[in-house]
């Protein structure tokens, strides 16, 4: 039997001990003595969240296909265990072999959202790895970051030895090979970092100097090591169908947030919503073939025993073979003990038909994401959904028996006016009215329920809104109050519900999203003063953060409420995301002028990613 890192005394005194014991179905067991490289793959949040992440499952599978590599998993200990580990000086351990993380060759940390940054420091701290790259030696693992937040890694740059910019499937093999070679030849850690810096997509933050102007903006960012390129090119998979995919994903004992087989049908999005970072940095759209997906569905259900299967992508309705794959899943699996869970689809005759097949109409609700309350503002953000789409889709759904609708909006979008805000309430009201107009009294199952939710807008790097000013906390709450007031004036107010997001945490997310290296001191100070699990509202403590900004002499407003000039050098400008800055500027102008840009299939807008030679950019063309 495997020996556990934690004693029975501890395991019987913490919540969910199963988070820490491993041994799950499909977890990979190898002899650590028989591999050259030990890789600890970390999701810096609690097990149930981390286990739900597809990207880690893909990389875990990919690494472990190599005989010379053993990849294990690491998650943030929950706060109860965190405290015990500090008191008793228990080093953080991997799930599989239960061995200390510090003994690994690599510690890979996936960066999925900004609010996990203090958990990165927790992971390093509990592992007894120095927090700063410059203090580490060969005794410490190489700490490498990847994932969406690496599109601006600067606020956490000092904590990492390397960042991998782009999709993990591409250059990891080369990185691991160079590591093996460096070890074999007895090279220094510095020499290995230099060899790594030469690999496209690998960013070594220590090899760059950032100079600032008097106004606090960046004057220049220059490589100070001859091995480091001035620009880091985002890596991406050319052909998704050939890309590796985990046919035997790990199945947790305890219920993870995503407790199902997930099929990634495509990467990227054709829509070009101007607030959406994923929609930009995963361009171009690349699809997996339907045949490959069908084969994977069988294999993964068989290998996991999951009772549910779902599709994953940024905009599933745009997948070319959606009907084929959805009908296949329903015909093959529905009613045979496997639930088919549909991703959010554009509401039309097809989606309503399949939804009525796999869901209990009375219990499920319909979801629209208009993002903005008026057509004007939807044009600004380039969200193609019209009021007509929403109202006719709702009418059709109401006739089909649904009576619950969810509407998702953002508040604080660039150019937003009171009219736009009130439009959220008015649109919700119109949806409710459609119900009473469409469904005769005798056929109604109670009242219609329209729930509008607003999140607060955070401008992100590599989007047309990267130049935009963000609202203050007070402005956000004022806007929510305007929507709330208008909701109460509506005729069908009893059918309407309105929720809004926390404002404090949004402002902080804004700082971390567009921050520079100077913000790293604030993150460290906040962590030292107890900030942890900031993504969890019950743990987030805004005061710790505000004090940290003050102690470090960093003004959060500089990163949030300032509108940036078109010529300003951004902390993330050293990354070539494939999207040209000219395109982003053009889109920023189009936004302000309320001009809509068509989607990639309707017309190419010349964003720059055609240079990769793959995906939607070449649909219908014969590629050479």
């Amino acid at each position: 039997m495997r020996k556990l890192a934690l004693s029975d005394e501890i395991l019987l005194n913490v919540q969910q001990p199963a988070r820490y014991i491993g041994g799950e179905v499909n977890s990979v067991m190898k002899d650590p003595e028989k591999v050259d490289i030990r890789f600890a793959m970390c999701f810096p949040d609690v097990y149930e969240i981390g286990m739900s992440h597809l990207g880690i499952q893909i990389l875990y599978d990919m690494f472990n296909r190599r005989d010379d590599v053993y990849c294990e998993r690491v998650y943030s200990p929950w706060t109860d265990l965190d405290q015990i580990m500090r008191e008793r000086k228990i080093p953080l351990f991997s799930i599989e072999t239960q061995m200390p993380v510090r003994n690994f060759d690599f510690l890979g940390i996936t960066l999925q959202y900004e609010m996990c940054y203090t958990n990165i420091l927790q992971i390093l701290d509990l592992s007894c790895i120095p927090l700063h790259s410059e203090e580490r030696t060969w005794e410490d693992p190489i700490v490498i970051g990847g994932g969406p937040c690496t599109y601006n890694p600067e606020p956490i740059a000092p904590f990492f030895d390397l960042f991998y910019i782009g999709e993990g499937e591409v250059v990891y093999d080369e990185l691991l090979d160079r590591y093996k070679e460096a070890k074999k030849q007895g090279k220094s850690r510095q020499e290995f970092l230099e060899a790594a810096a030469e690999i496209p997509g690998i960013y070594v933050p220590a090899f760059y100097d950032v100079n600032y102007k008097e106004d606090g903006t960046i004057a220049s960012m220059v490589p100070v090591n001859s091995h480091a390129p001035a620009v880091i090119a985002r890596q991406l998979v050319g052909d998704m169908t050939g890309a590796c995919y985990p046919e035997r994903p790990v199945v947790p004992f305890i219920r993870a947030t995503q407790d199902r087989v997930v099929l990634e049908i495509m990467r990227g999005c054709i829509r070009g919503c101007r607030f959406c970072q994923a929609g930009m940095v995963y361009r171009p759209v690349r699809e997996r073939s339907a045949d490959e997906l069908k084969r994977l569905a069988y294999a993964m259900l068989k290998n996991t025993g999951h009772e549910e299967i779902s599709l994953s992508s940024l905009s599933s309705s745009d997948y070319t073979h959606l009907e084929e794959i959805v009908n296949f899943l329903i015909d093959e699996f529905d009613g045979k003990g496997v639930n088919v869970s549909l991703p959010s689809l554009r509401i039309d005759a097809f989606s309503l038909d399949v939804m009525s097949k796999v869901q209990d109409v009375k219990k499920s609700s319909l979801t629209f994401a208009p993002e903005a309350g008026s057509q004007r503002l939807r044009n600004v953000v380039n969200k193609g959904l019209t009021e007509e789409d929403i109202l006719s889709g709702s009418a059709e759904a109401f006739r089909g028996g649904w009576n619950r609708v969810k509407l998702y909006f953002m508040l604080g979008l660039p150019t937003e006016t009171v009219q736009d805000m009130e439009g959220i309430a008015e649109l919700s009201e119109k949806v409710a009215e459609v119900y009473y107009d469409t469904v005769p009294k005798e056929e109604r199952h109670g009242k219609v329920q329209v729930t509008a939710s607003t999140s607060f807008f955070v401008p992100k790097p590599f989007t047309p809104f990267q130049w935009a000013r963000m609202c203050t906390k007070e402005e956000f709450l004022e806007r929510a109050a305007i929507v709330n007031r208008k909701m109460k004036e509506m005729l069908n107010k009893k059918s309407l519900r309105y929720n809004w997001h926390e404002a404090d945490v949004t402002v902080l997310e804004g700082v971390l999203a567009r921050g520079d290296r100077r913000v790293s001191a604030v993150i460290e100070e906040a962590y030292r003063n107890g900030a942890l699990y900031d993504a969890w509202s019950e743990h987030f403590d805004n005061n710790i953060w505000m004090n940290a900004f003050e102690t470090c002499g960093v003004n959060p407003d500089f990163y949030t409420v300032r509108e940036r000039g078109l010529n300003e050098i951004f902390p993330w400008d050293f990354i070539d995301s494939g999207i040209s800055k000219e395109f982003l500027k053009r889109e920023w102008e189009n936004a302000v002028n309320e001009v809509v840009t068509p989607n990639c299939r309707a017309r190419c807008s010349g964003c720059g990613v055609r240079k990769y030679g793959s995906g939607v950019c070449f649909e219908g063309e014969d590629r050479q």
Binding site: M1, D8, N13, I21, G22, K302, G305, G335
Partner: protein, 239 residues
């Protein structure tokens, strides 16, 4: 067809709670390709019921569940199929056909065997005389505990529900306890009572409690005649 499955739970998986073990087995059935029956209705679920939940931390050599299947291979074949997809620590020990009229395991449970031992790594935290002292304690004719219910507190004597106490090894106390829906006595309750009498703090992690078997009672009003739950089924042979 009704099938009764007996399985063991050993090692690190003792930290998996009962609800998660149930979810685990639902997935095992799918992985192993067991032709299990599903309920009717909008979200069909597997027809599967467990005899008795096992507390987190306990190990067992005698867990039971009943399932219904549409078709089945031989016992040997099914045991192999299921164990091939089981994780380390969970192992099917028997797979037997029940009569269609059989009562389900949960309603049959009347008694359970347990072994209580001190874990090696915590032996310094307790007197070496513990097994003998605990054995003597369980032999008492009056073992009173206070039960808190909605109606308030009341004192219960557990002694009549301890059917057997012995020391098969010098380090092991064996207990046959009343179990199931009528009176369910857990070894943890006896340990709690023991330490509270001695006025020593009870530290549950020091002890490894292992469930060994579950029984039905064929003579509940009289002398008790305990029959292991697996005896109600018959091995399925080839042909």
């Amino acid at each position: 067809m009704k099938i009764r499955i007996k399985f063991s739970k050993q090692g690190p998986v003792r930290f998996i709670g009962h609800l998660d073990v149930m979810r685990y087995f639902q997935k095992v059935m799918r992985r192993a390709g067991v032709d299990i029956r599903y309920s009717e209705g909008f979200s069909p679920h597997q027809i599967m019921s467990f005899a008795s939940p096992l507390s987190v931390g306990l190990t067992s050599n005698g867990e039971y569940m009943d399932i219904e299947v549409n078709s089945t291979g031989s016992s040997a074949e099914m045991i192999k199929k299921i164990n091939d997809t089981n994780v380390e620590g969970i192992k099917v020990l028997s797979y037997r056909l029940l009569l269609d009229t059989a009562k389900n395991a949960m309603s049959q449970v009347a008694a359970a065997d347990y072994c209580v031992r001190v874990k090696d790594e915590y032996s310094s935290e307790i007197s070496p005389d513990f097994p003998q002292n605990f054995f003597n304690f369980c032999k008492n004719e009056k073992i009173e505990i206070i039960k808190t219910t909605k109606k308030g507190e009341r004192t219960v004597n557990l002694s009549p529900f301890i059917y057997e106490v012995k020391m098969p090894e010098p380090d092991t106390v064996f207990l046959k306890l009343s179990s199931g829906s009528t009176v369910n006595v857990k070894p943890e309750q006896l340990l709690t009572a023991f330490f509270s009498e001695k006025q020593i703090e009870y530290r549950p992690y020091v002890f490894q409690v292992e469930r060994e078997e579950l029984y039905a009672d064929e003579d509940p009003e009289g002398q008790h005649r305990f029959v292991p739950l697996k005896e109600y089924g018959q091995d399925i042979t080839d042909n």
